[in-house]
């Protein structure tokens, strides 16, 4: 009986192929858009996460303010030298403690100039961020204290300013600060977010504070735990130490945050969840419109086939059987639209993903969801026309021209 009904429905749909296609176009576009966006989004997230996990899970980031989507951090008090010193002295199991101030400046050497990110930090930064040197050396103690200027430059900066020549020992000017190049960083390439990690100049924190930032504070601290030390232990130690130092009363929320990579990754995924929610809303609207299209055409179809319905009712079809027939037709239509949408969406996503150079991550959940949702659309919007068909008066239906 079900097979019979499905066959009938298919016949009714295929009899008017063009109309059927136009009817479900709304559903096709809605589903395709969602599938494409989610798939591309998944690919991007996967790439970012891969990058983050490569940096290691034993790295902790200490920032002022609560960090995460929708949280402002600018109002919280920044750190100072004594905070860094206290962490170095009082927290056990640390391999590196690197205070970090960031800025952007124009770097000049000879006739060439280049705008680059400038980081003020110490030698621990190279350890925590896993940087190797391809040329030269790291900072000496007197340079670290700020009594002697020194810069380590990334590969991109080297290429821009010195071409093929060896820059070690040469002078550069970073925002009017004269600074001899003491080392060159080994190539790292693009980050997960797509920016060039080699486009950077590293200088001692003191020099950066005084000459670039014009400040005595520190905007963030990067910590690296020793191998075999639990980052959660380090994290809670740093948190209680900083609470004490920043005089946060018991029960009050931290005005800083200590996160490891997985937490940052989770926060980013949180942003994706928010985006996915928004996307879902857009999808719901477009599928609603698609559903109304299906209902419209089903109503037309019921009117067109009034006589046929009359014949069926007269020769012994129950209301339920006529209802089922039209419902199956509507569901088949919308599933047809849903499946076309899934295929089109995946194809579109594949194209975009190849263009962006991120992995193709098709989510079975969202595909299944799109399928189920399109079937439900047919069920909901097909019900009213189907009921109208089932409740026709057979005498009048048979008289219908």
């Amino acid at each position: 009986m079900f097979f019979e009904t499905a066959k009938l429905a298919w016949r009714a749909i295929s009899r008017n192929m063009l109309r059927s296609f136009l009817t479900v176009l709304g559903v096709v576009i809605g589903v395709a858009a969602v599938i494409a966006m989610v798939t591309v989004g998944n690919g991007t997230t996967a790439k970012v996460q891969a990058e983050l996990s490569r940096l290691g899970t034993n790295t902790l980031f200490v920032r002022p303010g609560q960090w995460g989507p929708g949280r402002a951090s600018s109002e919280a008090k920044r750190f100072n030298d004594k905070d860094v010193l206290a962490i170095q002295e009082q927290v056990a199991g640390l391999r590196a403690v690197a205070p970090v101030n960031r800025g952007t400046a124009t770097v000049i050497a000879g006739g060439a100039n280049h705008s680059s990110s400038v980081i003020g930090t110490n030698n621990d930064y190279l350890i925590a961020q896993d940087w190797d040197l391809s040329l030269g050396r790291s900072f000496l103690a007197n340079e670290d204290r700020g009594s002697q200027a020194a810069c380590i430059i990334g590969e991109t900066v080297r290429k821009e300013l010195f071409g093929a020549a060896n820059p070690v020992g040469q002078n550069i000017r970073v925002s009017n600060v004269a600074c001899p190049v003491v080392g060159v960083l080994a190539v790292k390439g693009q980050s997960g977010m797509g920016d060039d990690q080699d486009d950077t100049v590293i200088m001692p924190l003191k020099l950066h504070q005084r000459r670039i930032g014009g400040t005595t504070t520190i905007s963030s601290i990067i910590l690296s735990a020793q191998d075999g030390v639990a980052t959660t232990k380090v994290q809670s130690d740093v948190e209680s130490l900083l609470r004490e130092r920043r005089r946060i009363a018991i029960g009050r929320e931290d005005d800083f945050s200590v996160n490891d990579m997985s937490q940052i990754a989770a926060a980013m995924t949180g942003t994706t969840v928010l985006l996915t929610g928004l996307l879902g809303a857009v999808a719901a609207v477009s599928l609603l419109v698609g559903g109304i299209g299906i209902m419209n055409i089903m109503l037309v179809s019921v009117t067109e086939r009034t006589r046929e319905i009359g014949i069926r009712l007269a020769i012994g079809a129950l209301e339920r059987q006529v209802l089922t027939q039209f419902l199956v037709e509507a569901v088949m239509l919308s599933i047809f639209g849903g499946v076309s949408g899934i295929v089109a969406g995946l194809a579109l996503a594949y194209g975009v993903v190849s263009f962006l150079g991120v992995p193709f991550v098709a989510s079975p959940t969202i595909i299944l969801l799109a399928f189920a949702f399109s079937a439900a659309i047919g069920m909901v919007f097909g019900y009213f026309p189907a009921r109208r068909a089932a409740q026709l008066n057979p005498i009048e239906a048979l008289r219908h021209e």
Binding site: M1, R312, G316, L318, Q321
Partner: protein, 238 residues
Amino acid sequence: MTLPPIITFRQVSKLYGHGEATIRALDHIDLSITAGEFVSIMGPSGSGKSTAMNIIGGLDVPTSGEYLFQGIPTSGFDRAQLTLLRRHMLGFVFQGFNLLARTSAVENVELPLVYRGMDHRERRSRAMIALEQVGLKGREGHTTQELSGGQQQRVAIARAIVTDPAVLLADEPTGNLDTRTSAEIMELITRLNRDNGITVIMVTHEEDIAAYGKRLLRFVDGHLASDHAQAKEHDHVL
């Protein structure tokens, strides 16, 4: 005969409309039809003959009075019960054939069996037998459009008898056919009545078609004006 009549009307009335505009399509009709009869119903339009057919066919219900099928009162029947009465007991033949368009003859004949939930093979073999009975063997694959009017009406008759109904209801079965084809269809209906014992109730406005029936009812203004047996005086015109 201890068996109750197959069709019984007790004071059946049917009213349409309200107040001043009320039309009394049937006015206290008493009628009974025994199994195996061939009844012709005549009357001018508006006489109530179609209303009577619709009530017999379970497509309409009386405003007052009682319609009994095989002695069972139908007044408490809901839509689904009336549908089941049609499905299991009645076969319909219409003036306009009312076949499904773009559908093959055999599929049209199978249709009532589909709603009974019969499996494909049994359906097909029963439909083929019915088609053979109406003389359309070999045409089962033709769609409605590929058949002549007479052939379409034969398919419709096959569809009506494929369920072995107790009563065949024919509403102007020859209304859209020429004289010669009409005679063929009437021969077929007569044979089904005579050989298969199907009770036939037929509405027509043509005297010579009505003459095929063994009993003639005449409706006028919602009343039964005459009801008498008739002998079939003419052998077929072929």
